[in-house]
């Protein structure tokens, strides 16, 4: 069985059981390790830190048995993994790319460091789309990861394996990254919670860059509670990331009733896939039944979202990925007669098709003569979007939509139609264009048993309020 009843969905329950000696960290580690082994065919993990995690579990058990809980951090007993784009000191990291073959990081990402400082246990490194570019987890040098609910289907991406690793209960949480939906879309396709915090809420130091002004580390788990704990521990301004910020404290809002807005275009039956349309209607009804208000809002920039997103992210990526040149680390093509051929050969051999496509697009939109028409215009649209969303949040508390307008596709499908895949990002990319916090929650399933997720997006820096209000929502199953 791929998808099982999760052993734990709540950190509070887990730590209570550890305290009451219902279970030990070592037993839990062995459970997760056995889950990893039995789901090996889904191609989730690139590397399992078996020995390290067993040692750490034994260390924590000793402290727990001695009753010295004050010696333990807030996240003791939590097992998590990291996407292959978040660096861990003295461990290989490759961004799912051949160009980083045999590369080991000299340092740990700030977010990983903060979480490990609180005694969470890192169980392994998981697959993803190369340099986090993709929506299907098929663009990886390690091959595709499969959807656990239906193995012929993609799990979504780029944090596909992160979502699968949670769905099949190999860990309590996974660290993913979200540039245009890369946490939320696979969470939705795999039936787990996935959160992208406000831009800058978490340090990007140690997150391998794709689109610097969009990238954000995010969390995937079985519950909002676990995501909340991880966010609280890892958020905050980092001297190593100039774009990092402090998010707002949580306001206490017991039983508050909210206004949820959705883009009026979603009422058009052509916009959403049939079963998703139906699921969204049920979601809206459920909110109304809980006493909230739900209303359509005018949003005229919907058609510009995907082009703007792809112009800006590929522009940034074309520059961010220049460092992979084979000079200092990573893949270097066999000796060339001069330096330009070394670059060309190393990068030609090292990067996959989708990465090359985006680097070409990004280089193009930044080129002299095209800069004004593409990059600069897209920046202007981005400013308009920030303004438009800020206006919307004067009318509503949250913006809701299905995470995707379409359902997961089959592995191998759409490989020759990148535009179709790009367009399916329409309902997630606006969040990154504006830097908002956003949560994907598992809502229902379609006729093939594939999950459908809903997305709730809040105002910038109100991440903790967003999580608090989403806790009350429940799912439809």
């Amino acid at each position: 069985m791929n998808v099982v009843q999760p052993k734990y969905t709540s950190l509070t329950d887990l730590q209570a059981d550890l305290k009451n000696q219902q279970i030990t960290c070592l037993e839990l580690a062995q459970y997760y390790l056995s889950r990893i082994k039995s789901t090996n065919h889904l191609n989730i993990y690139i590397q399992v830190y078996e020995q390290e995690v067993l040692l750490e579990a034994a260390r924590q058990d000793k402290i727990i048995q001695a009753g010295n809980f004050h010696e333990l951090g807030k996240l003791y007993g939590m097992f998590f993994n990291h996407k292959d784009v978040i660096c861990l000191k003295d461990h290989p990291i490759s961004a799912g790319s051949k160009i980083l073959e045999s590369f080991e990081s000299l340092y740990s990402a700030t977010v990983i460091r903060k979480i490990l400082d609180q005694d969470a246990m890192l169980i392994g490194r998981v697959n993803c789309d190369e340099f986090a570019m993709g929506s299907s987890n098929q663009n990886s040098t390690y091959g595709p990861t499969r959807n656990p609910h239906h193995e012929d289907y993609i799990p979504g991406g780029s944090s596909g394996a992160s979502a699968v690793s949670v769905a099949v209960d190999t860990c309590l949480a996974s660290l993913g990254s979200d540039t245009g939906g890369s946490v939320r879309q696979p969470a939705s396709f795999c039936g787990v919670y996935g959160m992208k915090p406000s831009y800058g809420a978490l340090s990007r130091y140690g997150l391998i860059a794709y689109g610097s002004s969009f990238d954000q580390i995010g969390f995937l788990s079985h519950s909002i509670e676990v995501i909340e704990e991880l966010l609280k521990v890892s958020k905050g301004k980092d001297p190593l990331d100039a774009t990092s910020i402090e998010i707002d404290k949580q306001e206490s809002l017991p039983n508050k009733k909210y206004t949820y807005g959705y883009f009026s275009q979603l009422d058009d039956s052509h916009f959403l896939d049939g079963s998703i349309h139906e699921a969204f209607n049920q979601f809206k009804n459920s909110l109304v039944q809980q006493g909230h208000q739900v209303k359509p809002v005018e949003f005229s920039l919907l058609d510009y979202l995907v082009p703007t997103y792809y112009i800006l992210t590929t522009a940034e990526a074309s520059s961010n990925l220049s460092r992979y040149d084979g000079v200092r680390y990573g893949h270097r093509a066999s000796p060339a007669d001069e330096v330009l051929s070394m670059y060309k050969n190393s990068r030609t051999e090292g990067f996959g098709t989708e990465v090359k496509r985006r680097l070409m697009m990004g280089t193009y939109v930044l080129s002299a003569g095209y800069y004004e028409a593409y990059y600069n215009k897209a920046q202007k649209v981005r400013r308009l979007l920030v303004q438009a969303l800020s206006n919307l949040f004067n009318q509503v508390d949250y913006i809701i939509n299905p995470v995707t307008p379409n359902k997961p596709w089959k592995i191998g499908e759409n490989l020759d139609d990148p535009i179709k895949v790009y367009l399916s990002d329409v309902l997630t990319v606006y969040v990154n264009l504006v830097g908002l916090p956003s949560l994907a929650l598992p809502w229902s399933k379609d006729e093939l048993n594939l999950p459908i997720g809903m997305q709730i997006t809040g105002p910038r820096k109100k991440d903790l309020n967003l999580l608090a209000s989403c806790k009350e929502m429940g799912t439809l199953e």
């Binding site: 001297p239 074309s318 990925l321 680390y329 330009l340 280089t363 930044l366 002299a368």
Partner: protein, 476 residues
Amino acid sequence: MIKQGYEFVAGLEMHVQLNTSTKAFCSDNNAFGGDPNTLVSPVSLAHPGTLPVVNLSQIKSAIKLGIALGSHISDQVIFDRKNYFYPDLPKGYQLTQDTLPICIGGSIYLPKTKKSIQIHHIHMEEDAGKLTHDNHDTYSLVDLNRAGVPLLEMVTEPDFRSPDQVFEFIEVMQKLVTFLDISDGNMEEGSIRCDCNVSVRPVGSNTYGERCEIKNINSKRFAKIAVEYEFKRQLKLIAYGEHIKQQTLHFDKQRKITYPLRTKEDAHDYRYFPDPDLPVYHVTNEMVQEIEKSLTELPWKIESRLLERFPLNAVEAQTIAYNSNLTQLFERLAEQITPNLYKTLIDVFFQKLIKLEDYTKPPKEDQLLEFLELVGSKQVNKFHAYEQLFDLMISNPSKSVIQLAQELGILQSDDLDYTGTVVNQVLEQFPQEVQRYRQGQKKLMGFFIGQVMQISKGKVQAQNAQKVLLEILKSD
């Protein structure tokens, strides 16, 4: 400089390495030397996932120079990425300021060549690493110690009209950045490097000719030679009826010629765009004012003040003015002496004081003032004072200088009787010379004075000796 009816025109791009303690965008040490690739970190090596963070000292240094040159200081600091591939550039892009430089405009006056040079702008950027191609046949070596070192790039207007002005500009800027303490100004170590844009135009023309850029010159002398050569080269081309092609040139120090760096000028598209990793930094009025306050009087003001008050020449005034320690010492000493000792002070200052190993810890001031008095009043002759007394004074800080002069037996005597005794002794010793003098060989006076000085071991003042000698030789 004008030749064959054509005028020399040049503009400079000067790169100044800043002396901040860390690099421009990370905490690596900013130092010269060090074994290859030891002053590096994951950030300066551009490892995956690393990010730049702005070094505030770099911004402050730029503002300081801008204020000194009278530039407009931008209220926003924006860094742009300049994208190109080269093995000395780890990120594959250089962080620089393309759209909005930190300082705009400004000027500097060159006193020797009497020329004012307008500054177009000053922007901040990071240095690249160093490549070595000579050690191996089959590969080149990369040293990234210098990668990420903060630089200011100062771009002048094409205001230079002679190679001497180019020389003096570099000289003055070198002194200025040292004075402001934003760079060590060391050209041998590459702390200042220049690109020189040279063109020619018919005298009287108000448009510019096609320019050639000589890259990466790290000496003011070479800069002068290079632009001079380039001027002549362009004149020669014109004389042969050829057009000047815009190109990038390299200067060969050995052969003292310029030659093209690339055969065909490949038009680089650097795809500049604002760095998304570095948010806009806002420069506040308070910050600018604080830096302005911290700036002491600027060197050219000190220079003209010194020239007005003291009998200094231009070079001496500049030397003192561009070094705040020297300015302080000189003015403190000058305040405590009478104007008739100024010349003595200047001489002692340049002959002795600034040659001390550590002139910031000069001899005790009361000793020094006594010393000036003794030399100025000629109670000790200059030779003895500079060669013996000065060092003795430093090694005996508790003794009075007059006492030391007495101990050395070099204190000159005002006693005309003593002088008379010595003179008579000399005249008795050299009767033949006395005779020849009286027969008209008046230049023997020097010989007699010399003998008097020698016998008295310098205690007799030469003037007194001459006076007595003239009297005695006349009266007989």
